[in-house]
Symmetry: C2
Subunit: 243 residues, 2 copies
């Protein structure tokens, strides 16, 4: 079974200049992993049309889902909709349903700045869920989310179950052995367990362990077998714990 993959495109000068810290990619990393979706890329780019179009085009063609963060307000630096339209060679059209919602909500105050929030890349669709006052806008496989962290989180939480896949199974081994000494043995475990993603992470600050080895797969038995093979190859007196 090919697993579902995703990318996050964070749009905003404020992140690249440190005026705001990214919270949305950080949040979505945990969400996607717990949903069983393999996150393959995060890109942070400035509020520039060409950058947005190029990042969205590439991520949309390579991955199953793309989530954008930011650039969807009414001001000059909000270029995400136009960038996504350009990515897919689409015109921007005023979505009649969104336009009705805006008129219903703002009444007499629904001026052009507010009505522009109904402008969408042609052929987009609205993702509606209970608890969402405004639907999530999606163009092809690109889900367009706001940069404000509270709204980003609320919108993603409303649509998250649409993305649920088989869960990941993970084991972690902590050891006091040195990574240089483990490397040749670890290579053998990796070679024999191709369907398990194995990572090795040295630590220089913990008193408890020197290397953390992670094993992850969609197949629980594969993780179990790789874990068994790994443990057999390690120095049992240096092993700290297994999670």
């Amino acid at each position: 079974m090919r697993q579902k993959t995703a990318a996050i495109v964070v749009i905003g000068n404020e992140i690249l200049t440190g005026k705001s810290q990214d919270e949305n990619a950080r949040f979505l990393i945990g969400e996607l992993h717990s949903l069983g979706v393999a996150l393959r890329r995060i890109v942070v780019i400035p509020d520039e049309l060409d950058d947005i179009a190029a990042a969205v085009r590439e991520c949309s063609s390579r991955f199953d889902y793309v989530f954008t963060s930011g650039g969807v307000g009414p001001t000059h630096d909000d270029l995400t909709i136009e960038g996504i339209a350009r990515a897919f060679g689409r015109a921007i059209v005023r979505n009649p349903e969104l336009a009705d919602m805006i008129r219903g909500y703002f009444g007499d105050e629904a001026d052009e700045a507010r009505m522009r929030m109904a402008d969408t890349p042609d052929g987009s669709h609205l993702v509606r869920e209970e608890g969402l006052r405004w639907p999530v806008l999606a163009t092809e496989n690109v889900y367009i989310l706001p940069g404000v962290p509270e709204l980003f989180r609320k919108k993603f939480e409303a649509i998250r179950e649409r993305f649920r896949a088989e869960p990941f199974h993970t084991s972690i081994v902590y050891t006091r052995e040195d990574e240089f000494d483990i490397a040749p043995r670890l290579d053998r475990v990796v070679a024999l367990h191709a369907d398990v993603e194995i990572g090795s992470y040295p630590n220089y600050t913990s008193e408890e362990y020197r290397v953390k080895i992670t094993l992850e797969s969609k197949n629980a038995d594969s993780v179990k077998n790789a874990l068994r093979a790994l443990i057999e190859m390690m120095d049992p007196t240096a092993m700290v714990r297994i999670e």
Copy 2:
């Protein structure tokens, strides 16, 4: 004056799966901004040769500096050196100076796993600074830094002054006006102050303000002029403060 630009390439499945939180890009954002270097992109990619090669190649050609984080240890998932070599079409060669240092440090324990830390893309150079036991390896404009946050920080801090440029000048205005209402006026300020980067960020949680407007440029006078024009256009009774 064209300003210096940079990209950060974070390499590591552990970030994309949430097993570790990125600390290095987060740290470097602040460093680069305070050095006056314009960070234009952050990419987080998995431990995959083709992804590393493609990201490094593109960032190296578009930006003045590229900083990679991670993937430089002795295990199977450490593919950064090979990825960078592929990005530039270079062979991997054992650097004689690094090899001497490794033999000097490890003595009889300098086995092949350890000696491989001297393998570098052909034509790389070593950046030496006081306080650094090991030099920083660089290939063209790509500075190769370790993923372990303490080491990443220590190495970058040792070389940071090489990248110092003209500082950014920044002003920030906080207002209780609504972003929709500000948008048309802000467009006029933006149009008249092309050399100032202006950002508008709504806030839905603060009791104090609703929109934060940032103005930034390498030219202090430009920021001052744009700030003056902005203030003139805003509702003075809704302005909270200026930083």
